[in-house]
């Protein structure tokens, strides 16, 4: 690990300003992903700004009947929150499907959104990787790509976003609230938060340097059967090959987002009305632009069958 200086910020604005001042500075909250990457020198910040004392660790009802989740709420606390379990169970289920008990006790809401891909070539500093070293090439394309993206990738990168939580946030139409170094706040719809790689796979989100996530906002609860189903190589403590987050209605309509398939949670709202005509019609539209590799082509039928299981479970529960 490279040496770095360290400070503890007292307010969100102070934290944002402290990171903005130095090009190689980073926020640290749970640290469960950043420190892992720093040990491997995939990330090498020269300055860390600890945001754990900012008081952004509360879950509060909003005036419109939704929920404001502080950026520092730990994954385990968010999953166990009474309002989340009752009104947004797809979010509890997604959180509980990720990582281990120890990691969920540290990992934060904002950090989960910002976690980086687990593509093996991103982690292997001896290999070219456009995300890690822009312009160096992609080792995954033509390499071992079993776990990687089947849609939304580019000739420069086929990494997947590893989060379960973000897939549920996508189906819930969450918004990410931030504060910029100049004190300005803004809200970013989760649909626009993560960027597809294009020819700049190192750009994973639209946050400016020093812009700090302060909370994630959930709209009022959406009625229906909330489901999160994850398929992985082990029964526990593994990243998704495929996951499905759904909020489904009795008449067979609903909202669906997929994890493990793309560089961001994959949801195609325009395809959702086709659910009424059956799973095939929907799936064909949602994954029309899929470009799987030989290694990961299995993910398409796997996702379709996982979805079939989800729809069946929802029918049984409603």
């Amino acid at each position: 690990m490279k040496a770095f200086s360290f400070e503890r910020a007292r307010t969100p604005a102070e934290a944002a300003a402290a990171v903005a001042q130095r090009p190689d500075a980073r926020f640290i909250a749970g640290g469960t992903n950043l420190l892992d990457l720093m040990k491997l020198q995939i990330e090498a910040p020269t300055h860390l700004v600890d945001v754990n004392a900012l008081g952004l660790d509360r879950i509060e009802a909003t005036r419109d009947g939704g929920l404001r989740i502080g950026a520092l709420v730990r994954n385990s606390d968010l999953a166990a929150d009474a309002a989340v379990k009752r009104d947004y169970p797809v979010l509890s289920r997604a959180l509980l499907a990720g990582a281990s008990g120890q990691l969920r006790n540290r990992a934060t809401t904002a950090g989960n959104l910002l976690q980086r891909t687990r593509c093996a070539y991103f982690y292997d500093t001896a290999q070219p990787c456009n995300k890690r070293r822009p312009g160096s090439g992609c080792s995954a394309i033509g390499g071992v790509s079993r776990s990687l993206a089947v849609i939304g990738g580019s000739p420069a990168c086929i990494a997947t976003h590893p989060s379960d939580m973000a897939v549920a946030m996508r189906v819930l139409d969450a918004e990410v609230e931030t504060v910029a170094p100049d004190g300005q706040t803004r809200r970013i719809p989760i649909a626009d938060f993560h960027k597809l790689p294009g020819d700049t796979p190192h750009v994973e989100h639209g946050l400016a340097h020093g812009e700090l996530i302060t909370s994630v906002l959930l709209p009022p609860p959406v009625a229906g059967v909330h489901v999160y189903r994850k398929v992985r190589d082990r029964a526990s403590y593994a990243f998704a090959l495929v996951s499905v987050a759904g909020i489904l209605q009795r008449d067979g309509t609903g909202r669906l987002a997929f994890g493990g398939m793309a560089p961001k949670p994959w949801r195609v709202e325009a395809a959702e009305p086709a659910l009424g005509q059956g799973l095939r019609a929907f799936f064909g539209q949602a994954f029309a632009s899929a470009k799987p590799t030989d290694d990961n082509a299995f993910k398409l039928p796997l996702a379709e069958r996982t979805l079939a299981g989800v729809l069946q479970a929802a029918k049984g529960a409603s």
């Binding site: 490279k2 640290g31 090498a44 009752r86 509890s92 006790n105 403590y237």
Partner: protein
């Protein structure tokens, strides 16, 4: 060893390989910018009921602070990447991976390690149960397993759900399935899982 003309001495070879290692390290560093000298910082925290004030390199993980600076070597370093659970300790009562957090992030914290749970003469019920049920083979993962189990049983008592909890609204009970899921962050390379599960179940008072 004599230095013969045209031959590399052992010393020359060592110098040459050190140079190669240094070049590899520089090439492997992904972020630009000059390397900083180590930065020291002071952290005061409580470990097993005892206050400590230590000057550390900011890079020091909580795990390395415990093992290298406070000589509490019960907590083990397995993978050092949060994958094996050998480094599990209780931070303000909650189980965490001590390898994936920095010591300087925890001023004023209360840390409990395996040494703080019990002593050979006065074992914690989970320590005694691991002995009684032979919940280990080599023992390397055991301190992490036990600290994790203490944290896990507390989470269960608080009603926190898991991936296998059927009803999010109901108070979860420690079934065999729940135990396996909740302890999945602790790997045992010897495969002593069945006895580990028995030991934890005995203490939890449930049926596995």
């Amino acid at each position: 060893m004599d230095d013969l003309p045209g031959c590399l001495s052992r010393r020359d070879v060592l110098i040459a390989s050190a140079g190669t290692a240094a070049m590899t390290a520089v090439d492997g560093a992904e972020a630009a910018g000059p390397a900083l000298p180590p930065t020291m910082a002071r952290v005061a925290l409580e470990v097993n009921g005892k206050s400590h004030t230590v000057d550390v390199d900011t890079r020091t993980s909580l795990l390395d602070l415990l093992r290298e600076r406070l000589q509490l070597t019960g907590t083990k370093k397995g993978c050092d990447h949060g994958q094996c659970g050998a480094c599990t300790v209780l931070l303000d009562g909650r189980r965490i991976n001590s390898c994936l957090t920095l010591a300087v992030m925890h001023p004023g914290a209360k840390v409990t390690t395996i040494e703080g749970l019990g002593t050979p003469a006065r074992m914690h019920p989970l320590q005694a149960a691991f002995v009684a049920h032979d919940g280990y083979q080599c023992g390397y993962c055991t301190p992490g397993q036990i600290c994790s189990a203490v944290g896990m049983l507390d989470e269960l008592k608080q009603g926190m759900p898991s991936h296998v909890t059927a009803d999010l609204a109901a108070k979860p009970l420690l079934s065999a399935e729940e135990l396996r899921e909740r302890m999945s962050g602790n790997i045992c390379r010897c495969g002593a899982y069945s006895n580990i599960a028995e030991a934890i179940t005995r203490v939890a008072g449930g049926a596995a």
